[in-house]
């Protein structure tokens, strides 16, 4: 309960505000609330998701103009205006997202700059929207006969909407979809390999941010009761982004802090700067610009983490995972079934042939080792099999199905789990959550139920599965540690647990024993033997020959992108071609 005190104090002050404060402060708080709603969307988009939009003001404009136009020209209900605004905003956001989100990260912000400018000029030049003078006479909102005609009355609506949005965002981030969102920044490739559709996830957060902005615009129109293009220009869109960054782009409450600080600062600077400079104009942008540069250089996480340190209450940390009924598992293929078949695979990067004439098979219930000197093309082969890369020519069959054109998340769906040669995990997330990303495809609840936390039963089962796999690989004591704090060897083991969460029938392990100590290696070998006994097929790339030869059922040796030998471990060890590749020829 103790950790809730600051929140309760904050809520009490908010609730009492309109009873005590003069009109000026109410207006200020109303605007802070409206801006916070927009900034909150940007926290999700920029701070958490690593994407950026400078065009949020244009979405606010869509919300405001939709209701403004429908309620004045057609005298429709403001609620229809809200629906129409949300519909138009969603359509625009989906189109923009479709256009830019598949491209590298800077196309979305550039696209939103162009969109922000275009919409601003459209608002100003369309006759039926009143041109640059705008629309007047927008009706007041009514709730069950209660008219919200003053700022004091409107205040409660704004802040209820804002706090609702904060709560929903917080809930969303703490869920299966939330983990996928948090994986976008720095873990896109990994998340795809665990079955996350990152393009869809990016579109979702862009959509949510746009819809938040639209709601803010709807509220603005009915609070102000007139709209013109000025507050929806690109510069205001940039200010929204500043709010999110200054407040602390990775924290939901940072949106409120940023909106508050910037709104008050702007008010103050607009008062004093014209007096100092002796002329009128928007000189506050000079200070905003410098402030933002300093924040990014000196305190990239914004003001919120710094504020939190001032409050002597530690955040509560989850320390238990509920015991639940395990998730359903797939039917394992019978031992000896061919899981994976690669035939005449060739992969070319420009003029470099990384793989050529490669063929191999992996059966259920066996460990197949792929070995070879550095640069032999083992990891390229791995990436082609797991759908991260596509073959130039050749055939890959997984469970009998041709898969060489499928992307990695489709391979995960079909039952392939993998680890990475260079560890790919989210260092600031807990070990448990990192592993739970692997179980992404085993849950089905979407964004809406996540934001309302209606998916707690499923979430508990996912986390419980993650814990089960972590205990299986021997990391049961580290569930709540930050993943980045583990030594490298254990991070590799974490990746195995994550791959097991996919519920695979074929496991691809890229140098799992690198960085492990002797006893840990033995434990790993023991685990892989157990998995093999349960019918799992394992394709292993490894340099530690003792580890490989003691474990593998069959071995394929690669050099210069081609297979030079294949057979039982003891056969391969005696093969003169292999000896030459590893030890150099005997003159």
């Amino acid at each position: 309960m103790k950790q809730r005190i600051p929140l309760l104090v904050f809520l009490a002050v908010l609730a009492l505000g309109p009873q005590l404060l003069p009109e000026f402060y109410i207006t200020l708080l109303n605007y802070i609330g409206l801006y916070s709603i927009v900034a909150l969307g940007l926290v999700l988009l920029t701070g958490v998701g690593g994407l950026t939009s400078f065009g949020q003001a244009a979405f606010v404009g869509l919300g405001a103009y939709a209701t403004g136009y429908l309620t004045t020209a057609h005298e429709l209900s403001p609620w229809l205006g809200l629906l129409a605004g949300l519909g138009v905003t969603a359509a625009v956001a989906l189109v923009l997202g479709f256009l830019t989100l598949r491209l590298s990260g800077h196309y979305l912000p550039l696209g939103t700059i162009a969109w922000g400018i275009s919409l601003y000029f459209l608002f100003g030049n369309l006759e039926f929207l009143g041109g640059h003078t705008g629309l007047t006479g927008i009706p007041v909102l009514e709730f069950f006969g209660l008219k919200l005609s003053t700022g004091r009355e409107f205040y409660y609506l704004i802040w209820v909407v804002l706090l609702g949005a904060v709560l929903a965002t917080q809930n969303l981030l703490d869920s299966r979809e939330g983990r996928a969102i948090r994986a976008l920044k720095g873990g896109g490739l990994m998340a795809e390999s665990m079955g996350v559709d990152t393009a869809r996830t990016k579109t979702i957060i862009f959509l949510i941010a746009a819809l938040f902005a639209c709601v803010s615009g709807w509220l603005y129109a009915h609070l102000q009761r007139f709209v013109n293009p000025t507050p929806f220009g690109l510069h205001i869109g940039i200010e929204y982004l500043f709010m999110a960054v200054v407040g602390g782009a990775a924290h939901v409450w940072g949106a409120l802090v940023g909106a508050g600080v910037l709104t008050i600062l702007k008010q103050w600077l607009q008062d004093i700067l014209p007096k100092i400079f002796g002329q009128s104009g928007n000189f506050e942008v000079i200070f905003f610009g410098i402030m933002l540069i300093l924040v990014l250089q000196r305190a990239r996480d914004g003001l919120w983490p710094w504020l939190v340190r001032l409050v002597p209450v530690k955040a509560k940390q989850q320390r238990t995972v509920a015991e639940t009924e395990p998730l359903p598992c797939r039917q394992m293929p019978a031992a000896g079934t061919v899981l994976l078949e690669v035939k005449d695979a060739r992969k070319q990067f420009g003029g470099l042939v990384a793989n050529d004439n490669m063929s191999l098979t992996v059966k259920a219930g066996e460990v197949m080792a792929l070995i070879g000197p550095n640069g032999a093309g083992k990891s390229t082969m791995f990436n082609c099999i797991s759908g991260v890369d596509t073959l130039t020519s050749g055939e890959i069959r997984f469970l009998g199905e041709r898969t060489e054109t499928l992307v990695s998340r489709e391979m995960a769906r079909r039952g392939m789990g993998r680890t990475f040669q260079h560890v790919r995990l989210l260092p600031t997330m807990s070990v448990l959550e990192n592993v739970a990303i692997g179980a992404h495809l085993r849950g089905a609840k979407g964004v809406l139920s996540s934001s309302l936390h209606l998916e707690r039963a499923e979430e508990a089962r996912l986390l419980s599965e993650a814990r089960r796999q972590l205990e299986r690989v021997g990391l049961g004591e580290h569930l709540f540690d930050e993943a980045g704090s583990l030594p490298l060897g254990q991070q590799r083991i974490l990746e195995i647990a994550r791959a097991l969460c996919v519920d695979p029938c074929l496991l691809l392990l890229d140098e799992p024993a690198a960085g492990l100590r002797y006893l840990e290696k033995q434990a790993l070998a023991e685990l892989l033997r157990k998995l093999r006994a349960q019918g799992m097929g394992i394709l292993l790339v490894e340099h530690d020959m003792d580890f490989v030869m003691g474990l593998a059922d069959r071995v394929v040796v690669m050099e210069f992108g081609e297979k030079i030998s294949e057979g039982l471990p003891e056969e391969v060890q005696k093969d003169p071609i292999v000896l030459e590749a590893y030890l150099g020829g005997v003159e």
């Binding site: 690593g50 491209l103 800077h106 000029f121 030049n125 940039i238 400079f277 000079i286 933002l292």
Partner: protein
Amino acid sequence: MDLQIALLLGQDGIVNGAIYALLALALVLVFAVTRVIFIPQGEFVAYGALTLAAFQAGKTPGTLWLLLGAGALVALIDTVMALRAGSMGRLKRIALWDLALPAAIAGLVLWLEPGRLPLWAQVTLALAIVIPLGPLIYRLAYQPLAEASVLVLLIVSVAVHLTLVGLGLLFFGAEGSRTTPFSEAQFNLGMLTVNGQTLWVLGASVVLIVGLYLFFGRTLYGKALRATAINRVGARLMGISTTMAGKLSFTLAAGIGALSGILIAPITTVYYDTGFLVGLKGFVAAIIAGLVSYPLAAAGAILVGLLEAFSSFWASAFKEVIVFTLIIPVLVWRSLTSHHVEEEE
């Protein structure tokens, strides 16, 4: 529309397109070398034009104070860092580049009263004030964040843009200015009248583009920039300082921007915030080129210029909308042709 109007619009379009082409080249250059999406490019256009206009109005341009201030600030920061690192050798360079050079330029401007000088001298002085701002801004805003993600650098760019626009308003006021043309000559080619200034713009653009081509192809510094663009770590291992590369590319970008502004100032009225839209149109051209190809960027720029000229005739209120929606088909094409999942940083 008859042929004469079409020719006139075409001429307009090509002149503007040439300017957009220069800016697009600078944007591609800066992005390739430093990964900075250089939104403030347009401010250099406005600063160049308005500094020249201030000379012609007999005023001392505010950009001069910005140059002195930024130089002093960089000198202060670098001196503190040099003292902390205990390397006294750097102090001489700091004094020379960040203090003596701006002071010399300032002294020259205040002593010469540029309003009475011939045009070429005014242009030279204006460039001398605006170009050093490029590397100084790189030092202050971007260098401490050189290893940050493209996204963070983009946000910094937007912040720098805002700061410079605000300062532009402070220095030059809200009124626009025009400068005297480089040449009053007029040529009649059949139905078409070509102004001397048009030829100046086209000629200067061609000279600059050829100059850049030679710089990148033939000089050691040009090759160092190309190496940095291709592989930063590799370039550093070969002894190329990425800080030097950053400053050099910003110097070039500032020079191109300021010169573009000076070239268009006799044709259009330039306001303190004009540069932003001009720069963004350069961006549209650069995006058409995917922020990598120089020839494509130049071609895109001409397309943008022509589209703008003709849409200002048919639907002048919507000309900005039309120009900026031009990037949509480009983005569609790009997103349909790229398939891989990109790993950021």
